[in-house]
């Protein structure tokens, strides 16, 4: 079998394969390690040749500088509130609509469903200016509700929930409940909801991580530092004329750690959720 790099036990091909994967892994990991190193070093370490590659003793000092620059904990808290609220609202809207589209009969169902799917292709920037004006007019600038409201719209969530309800909730079960005189809302609450809880984890992870990293909209509507989400707060660290790199990366490091820990703990669920959310 000429050229079959995969099968020879420790041939050149296989060593090359592991080498390639290792290089890519190191490339993926290095920025994490390096932001940790820099967050513990005085910014003068940045000018040293060869570059600093081991942690120093400025962990506390650098983070103190971050706290002097931005309301770090307030921003993290704001982000958490925004992410949790959006996630819960999206789960509710999507599961109700997914249930309706999958199990209830009403005229225009298919057209309405395709209308929702169609909204996926509208780029968010198209409405950015009127959305901003709308928020400004409602007096909601610097308000966390404004930072969330755009993300309540999640056509993909409705699509996923419809798929999941169709696949996992048998029609007979609903028919039986109906014969027993269950109201439609009770069918949703007592039969559908418990069955689709695993899908809540999938969609919840997708929504939470995407809102966590959101920037453009919040950068547009949040101008008061007290209302900043962490992404807006971090970005503001880089607008000084002379940036203290140790401080900057300390902020990035401590803002990255919480989600990183959650990811490492539940990495299988994370990866499969995000793959499933895109592939379905």
């Amino acid at each position: 079998m000429k050229g079959d790099v995969g099968t020879k036990k420790w041939g050149i091909g296989r060593i090359g394969m592991y080498l390639f994967l290792t290089v890519i892994s190191l490339f993926s990991l290095f920025p994490f390690y390096w932001m940790f190193v820099m967050s513990t070093r005085h910014s003068s370490a940045y000018n040293s040749i060869p570059p600093a590659m081991v942690p120093g003793d400025q962990l506390k000092e650098n983070f103190q500088k971050v706290l002097d620059m931005i309301p770090f904990f307030q921003s993290m808290f704001n982000t958490l509130i925004v992410c949790l609220t959006v996630t819960i609202v999206v789960l509710l809207i999507s599961s109700l609509a997914g249930f309706a589209f999958s199990k209830l009969k009403f005229p225009g169902k298919n057209i309405l469903f395709f209308a929702i799917l169609f909204t996926i292709i509208i780029p968010p920037q198209l409405g950015l200016i009127p959305q901003y004006l709308l928020v400004a007019k409602a007096g909601l600038l610097d308000n966390l509700f404004a930072a969330m409201v755009l993300f309540f719209l999640n056509p993909l969530g409705i699509f996923l929930m419809r798929q999941y309800v169709s696949e996992s909730v048998p029609d007979e079960l609903i028919e039986a409940a109906r014969l027993d005189g269950c109201s439609i809302f009770r069918i949703y609450r007592s039969i559908v909801l418990p069955i689709i809880l695993p899908a809540f984890a999938t969609l919840g992870i997708i929504v939470f991580t995407s809102v966590w990293g959101e920037f453009l909209w919040q950068f547009t509507v949040l101008r008061d530092p007290e209302s900043y989400t962490i992404q807006v707060a971090l970005a503001s660290l880089n607008t000084q004329f002379k940036v203290d790199f140790g401080m900057l990366l300390s902020g990035v490091f401590w803002a990255t750690i919480p989600l990183l820990i959650v990811f490492l703990l539940f990495n299988k669920l994370f990866i499969s959720s995000i793959a499933e959310g895109s592939v379905k």
Partner: protein, 314 residues
């Protein structure tokens, strides 16, 4: 077939009962939140943008209808075309390598005899959970203008002169496409991997018996069968690339809107609206962007659809 007929008969017999009515109302009620919110923050702003594109307006005072003037203004603005050029180049540099290497990685991670699979999968995916802002900031330190910047040190080892990454035409583009590549590589790898796991193993085994090499397997089995997944990632990447904003803006910091090396179309329209208070031209730019996205997606779809066509006619 029989059960379907039965159902229809039952329906006819029952006619339009109050239970059907209730079901119908519940249906509309349960899907209504999306449509209500969409009407307010999706549809209305989109229509308003269309109108605004034909007006002159600074956000205060009266609007003034100016016909196609806004489009004329932006289409004759060299900076607008520079931003289009930047967006396309950054899109190609950031996404093309990502998709190719992602495909190779997924193929390797899918090999049955690969060891440390879980480790490789987690590390390669890890960049995805950082935020775009975090990535842009870390890379802004890697790629600083400083002579001692890490990347300058590394290229110095190979005998190259230090580069002013933030203020040179190709420096800024290389830095930004590197961070896009870094963050999205694992994401695309995972999608391809999910696609590859749906390809039956027998196909590979049969091809092995026929003496196919690993590259032939990739070429004649994996890629053609993976086509729907490749189309998906190409679509996502194209749309994402056309909307690039966060990485260049955060990477450049306070010079983001005053230099043109990395200004993208979204940055251009953001600058028009929020730095220059020219809402009309900004809306016109948004509409031109929408057209670009449609065209770019269509072109990429057509190109991707032709992948491996000589092999499998569908």
């Amino acid at each position: 077939m029989v059960s379907l007929d039965e159902k229809q008969q039952k329906k006819r017999r029952k006619g339009f009962s109050s239970q059907d009515m209730k079901e119908m109302l519940s249906g509309y009620l349960y899907i209504s939140p999306f449509f209500i919110i969409f009407a307010i923050i999706g549809l209305y702003p989109a229509i308003f943008s269309l109108i605004l594109a034909f007006q002159k307006w600074n956000g205060m005072g009266e609007m003034e209808f100016v016909g196609l003037n806004n489009f004329q203004v932006i289409l004759s603005d060299p900076l607008f075309w520079k931003s289009v050029y930047n967006t396309v180049i950054l899109g190609l540099m950031g996404t093309a390598p990502q998709l190719v290497i992602g495909l190779i990685l997924a193929f390797l991670l899918n090999l049955s005899y690969l060891r440390f699979k879980a480790f490789f999968r987690v590390t390669i995916f890890m960049p995805y959970i950082t935020s775009m802002v975090a990535v842009a900031l870390v890379f802004s330190v890697f790629f600083s203008n400083n002579e001692t910047a890490l990347v300058n040190y590394i290229i110095g080892l190979f005998g190259f002169d230090p580069v002013s990454w933030k203020t040179s035409e190709w420096g800024a583009k290389i830095a930004i496409s590197t961070m896009v590549f870094w963050r999205w590589l694992g994401y695309n790898t995972i999608i391809y991997l999910a696609g590859m796991q749906s390809i039956p193993n027998e196909l590979y085994e049969a091809s092995k018996i026929d003496g196919a090499s690993i590259f032939q397997q990739l070429r004649y089995i994996t890629i053609p069968l993976l086509k729907p997944f490749i189309i998906l990632t190409v679509f996502f990447s194209t749309v994402g690339a056309m909307q690039l904003f966060t990485e260049p803006t955060v990477f450049l910091g306070n010079t983001a809107f005053s230099r043109d090396e990395a200004m993208t179309v979204v940055m251009y329209l953001y600058r028009d609206a929020f730095k220059l208070s020219s809402f009309g031209t900004a809306s016109a730019a948004a509409i031109v962007l929408l057209l670009f996205i449609v065209v770019a997606s269509a072109i990429n779809m057509l190109l991707t659809k032709r992948l491996g066509r000589d092999r499998r006619e569908t």
